[in-house]
């Protein structure tokens, strides 16, 4: 006489069945079938309540479903069963970030960096958490830690630059953005930060140049508007008008773009400079060999600040 199979499964869960269930759940999660995924992970946790991976995946599922409190509980359960889990701490911290509980988020990363001192992503996110807490010096220390481990980490350079920008250290911030773009020339965030920096410094030529490059990556209305302002500053009325028009086209609610277009039209009646082939117009550097051969150097020098 043999015992019923269900009874066997209940009291002696087969490892195969558990893994198969988690695997099915993981597939459902990847396919964005969250209800099915949650059902599978719950089933797995009925089979083995102390299974940390199932808790972790359940947390991710709930996070994607928008149930952040549930997700937080799941990640906490996961960490209860496996305290050293990188993924568990990262999930917990990410959920805390979404809940805007930045202090706790920073503490979570503290724990993680204590457990794994060479975990670069944890240091980076810890820096970002300090940035959100407006502790820019602490943030910079975290980014420096990342850069000591990986000097080519473009995101760390960018974040460090952003923190320095907040501290008003424009020159050092500019260097950081330069490094970030050196290691990743298509790094949109670094470009945007650089635009902010140049805008603050009133370097219209650099703003126009970097806005142009950033627009190759993302066609955004505010970037067109910023570019239009820079062209206005460089007395390029037609270019400014075109940029404002494009901004208004992308975002019809952007009133500033329409106002900018009006200003450009007015300016066009007075002056409209054409830069020709010189995309660096307005970024004159005395002594540069390229500037020495430039045909519009006089005008460029005039508009460069």
């Amino acid at each position: 006489m043999s015992a019923p199979s269900e009874t066997g499964n209940r009291f002696l869960p087969s490892v195969d069945r558990l893994e198969a269930t988690v695997h099915e759940g993981r597939k459902a999660l990847e396919g964005a079938r969250y209800d099915e995924a949650l059902r599978r992970f719950n089933e797995a946790l009925r089979l083995k309540p102390e299974y940390d991976v199932a808790w972790l995946l359940r947390g991710h599922t709930l996070r994607r479903m928008g149930d952040l409190d549930g997700a937080l509980q799941s990640f906490a359960q996961s960490l209860r069963h496996n305290e050293e889990s990188e993924e568990g701490w990262m999930g917990l911290a990410a959920t805390l970030h979404e809940l805007r509980r930045y202090k706790e988020e920073a503490e979570a990363y503290d724990q993680l960096t204590k457990l794994h001192p060479r975990f670069v992503e944890a240091w980076l996110n810890k820096g970002a958490a300090y940035h959100d807490l407006k502790d820019y010096a602490g943030a910079i220390a975290c980014y420096d830690k990342v850069l000591s481990l990986r000097p080519e980490h473009a995101a760390a350079w960018n974040n460090k630059g952003a923190a320095l920008l907040r501290l008003g250290e424009d020159a050092r911030a500019g260097e950081c953005f330069r490094e970030a773009l050196h290691f990743n020339p298509d790094f949109y965030d670094a470009m945007v930060n650089r635009i902010f920096l140049f805008q603050r410094q009133g370097h219209h030529g650099d703003v126009a140049f970097w806005a142009d490059r950033a627009l190759r990556i993302r066609d955004e209305a505010w970037l067109w508007y910023t570019k239009g302002l820079a062209h206005l500053g460089l007395l390029e009325s037609t270019m400014a008008l075109r940029a404002f028009e494009r901004a208004a086209e992308l975002d019809p609610t952007l009133k500033e773009a329409r106002a900018g277009a009006r200003r450009a039209r007015v300016l066009r009646d007075k002056v409209d400079f054409y830069r020709g082939v010189y995309e660096c117009f307005g970024t004159h550097v005395p002594g540069d060999p390229g500037c020495g051969e430039c045909e519009i150097v006089a005008k460029c020098r005039e508009v460069t600040r």
Partner: protein
């Protein structure tokens, strides 16, 4: 040239950077840091090709092709960047399609200033579209200044020269191009066919001669050169060339037909008949049959001519010339005597008169043809018949080949 490494570019001094820019076809103007960045961008793009996805510029290009220039212009304008000449070229193309030739020329000009030499060719097209062929040729020259042996530029220049009426200069340019690119000898035959279609027979004959220098066994070039020579009046040379063609392949109906016509023009009707009849044996087309019939009629082979016309009418029952000739050549029946219809005599009386005139017309060439033989002069009438035949026979040479899908120049 091989691409420089990223490190090489990062550490290049200004002259080296300028040199690299020029060799890569990039705009070398601007601040050194910006120029360096431009080169690095270019290298990165070349080193890792990104997966293709349609962008605004692709949509703009498609809209230009699909005939919506206004929408294309709007899209091109949105893609314009500070250092990219391509959107300016695209914008110019769209404006060209929209008919705004002046603006198109300006846009191409901007792209040229940004270092895109090929924009000169687009500019040339826009100028040519406006009828300014001189400007178009100058734009081609500007392009060729940086790429002197570029075949596209040279051929475009030749086209604009020809359209502007400077045909001699055009042919000189073309000849120079072909001489500079001996591997493109095949193009001579294409040029010959184009010239033949354009009724520039002398130049066509020369082009085919060049083609044959490269490939002496090219039958099409032999036959078409013969046709061109025949058209230009160099009959004896044409006969020689066509014989050469027939030595390669004695069954070439078109060569036989053209040779027959050439013999007619040379005043050798018997040889003409023989060759035309051989042509008709190999390929019985209405044109060849008409040539045969006409020559037979001219050489007083009345029954044979009638038979040829009949064969022609089988192929083309509505052929007006054949119908008229049959009417003309068939023995006239004795006029019927009206019996009861006396009252209607007056009206139909004209018909017999016409018939008489027709018989007189028919008789006239015979007499004059004889007189030609007697006096050895090129009298009008006997010549007229072969001329007509020749005129008809001339056309089929090159045209026939093109229509029937016989080996076209470009295919061989």
């Amino acid at each position: 040239m091989s691409l420089p490494s990223l490190a090489e570019v990062e550490h290049a001094d200004w002259p080296a950077l300028e040199r690299i820019c020029t060799s890569l076809g990039l705009n070398p103007k601007g601040r050194s840091e910006i120029v360096r960045m431009r080169v690095l961008d270019h290298l990165r793009r070349r080193v890792r090709a990104e997966a293709w996805r349609p962008g605004v510029q692709h949509e703009a290009a498609l809209l230009t092709r699909l005939g919506h220039p206004d929408s294309a212009i709007r899209l091109w304008e949105s893609t314009i960047q500070l250092d990219e000449p391509a959107p300016w070229v695209g914008l110019g193309g769209a404006q060209l399609n929209a008919g705004d030739l002046t603006q198109a020329a300006k846009d191409f000009d901007r792209a040229t200033q940004m270092g895109d030499a090929a924009a000169n060719l687009h500019r040339a097209e826009s100028l040519a579209a406006a009828g300014n062929f001189e400007g178009a040729v100058r734009a081609c020259d500007a392009y060729l200044a940086s790429r002197p042996r570029d075949l596209r530029g040279v051929l475009l220049k030749a086209v604009f020269l020809a359209r502007g009426g400077w045909t001699d200069e055009a042919s000189t340019v073309m000849r120079d191009a072909f001489e500079a690119h001996p591997q493109l000898r095949e193009l001579w035959r294409g040029l010959g066919t184009l010239l033949l279609k354009g009724r520039r027979y002398e130049a066509a004959a020369e082009a085919y001669r060049e083609s044959l220098r490269g490939n002496p066994k090219d039958e099409v070039s032999w036959v078409n050169r013969g046709s061109a020579l025949l058209m230009v009046g160099r009959t004896h040379e044409a006969i020689g060339v066509l014989r050469e063609a027939l030595e390669e392949d004695p069954h070439q109906a078109i060569a036989l037909n053209n040779l027959g016509v050439a013999y007619l023009r040379a005043g050798q009707p018997r040889s003409a008949v023989i060759n035309l009849e051989r042509a008709a044996k190999h390929m019985e087309t209405p044109q060849i049959l008409l040539n045969v019939a006409k020559v037979q009629e001219a050489t007083h082979q009345k029954p044979a001519a009638l038979e040829s016309y009949a064969r022609l009418l089988v192929l083309n029952p509505k052929d007006a010339e054949a119908l008229a000739a049959r009417k003309r050549l068939q023995p006239s029946k004795p006029p019927r005597r009206p019996h009861a219809r006396t009252t209607r005599r007056a009206a139909p009386r004209k018909q017999p008169v016409r018939k008489k005139k027709a018989t007189r017309k028919r008789a006239r060439p015979k007499r004059k043809a004889r007189s030609v033989r007697r006096h050895g002069q090129a009298a009008r009438k006997p010549r007229r018949v072969p001329k007509k035949a020749a005129r008809r026979a001339r056309k089929p040479g090159p045209q026939h080949r093109a229509k029937k899908g016989r080996p076209k120049p470009s295919r061989r």
